[in-house]
Symmetry: C2
Subunit: 147 residues, 2 copies
Amino acid sequence: MADTPYAPSRIRALPSWLLGRAAARGHRLVAEALATEGMRMMHHAVLSAVAELGPVSQAELGRTVGIDPKDMVAIVNDLQGDGLVTRTPDPKDRRKNAVEISAEGQRRLRRTQRLGDAANAELTAALSDEERAQLIALLTRIVAPGE
Amino acid sequence: MADTPYAPSRIRALPSWLLGRAAARGHRLVAEALATEGMRMMHHAVLSAVAELGPVSQAELGRTVGIDPKDMVAIVNDLQGDGLVTRTPDPKDRRKNAVEISAEGQRRLRRTQRLGDAANAELTAALSDEERAQLIALLTRIVAPGE
DNA sequence: CAGTTTCATTGGATGCCCCAACGATAACCA
DNA sequence: TGGTTATCGTTGGGGCATCCAATGAAACTG
């Protein structure tokens, strides 16, 4: 301990630290890319989930994307205000809103998906295809440790 | 595109998304561990950097750890209030504060380092030693793309 | 010596996460 | 059936981390 007086920071070698830094860079790159279409990351994630799940309740959207119901209200409000999704009462369960993507939402989603992919390509530009696949596999196991 | 109607979310396979999720889990694990010593992540990081760099200005600390000067003021205030660091005016440059770790700060740092290491072990528990080293290497290249 | 830069500090804004409550509705179960 | 429990959307509030702008003091530059 005392014999390593000026060792390079232990913290910088910790997975939690590296993950935080890498995530920050990824967030910045993606956010900047999406901003050119006036979209934010969580809005894009929700829009993508809506496109994928079809008519879906806000609660299920929140579980899928990992967003607090409180924040989901604001996001769906924004998406609806921009005409990207529709929010209609579910006739089968009148508690729920059936959130569905609109035609303009699909067009917007195609553009933002391209932007997101490009940002991710830049994020992992230093990696080969094989290394990128390795990283994704390792991260997946860290994110869902029990599954 | 149209032939994958219910494909699992594209977003969940993006490095930026996985990094965000993994970083969130790492942050949660480390923060919970450090909380048992009444410390927060950034406080621990700054304390570790102070121990490593010796008497150092807040600005250099901020550059090392990647913290906004505004936040550094509050963190050093807390660390000083807990008697973990000392903040004395630098005689050579009266703009700077010379931040230095105290004896109690070193004791605290030893404990929080153990806690941080344990949390990181839990974070990467699903990985073998070799995979953990791979992950660290890949993340390092993502964090510092040009270097 | 004048202009520029750095430093510590303050102020303010934003985004994400968590907890609590509410009225309406649905599901469960005895 | 009726009474309890759970879910849904929504509103409210708070904590925490990150970021940008500005300021006065001090140092550096040419």
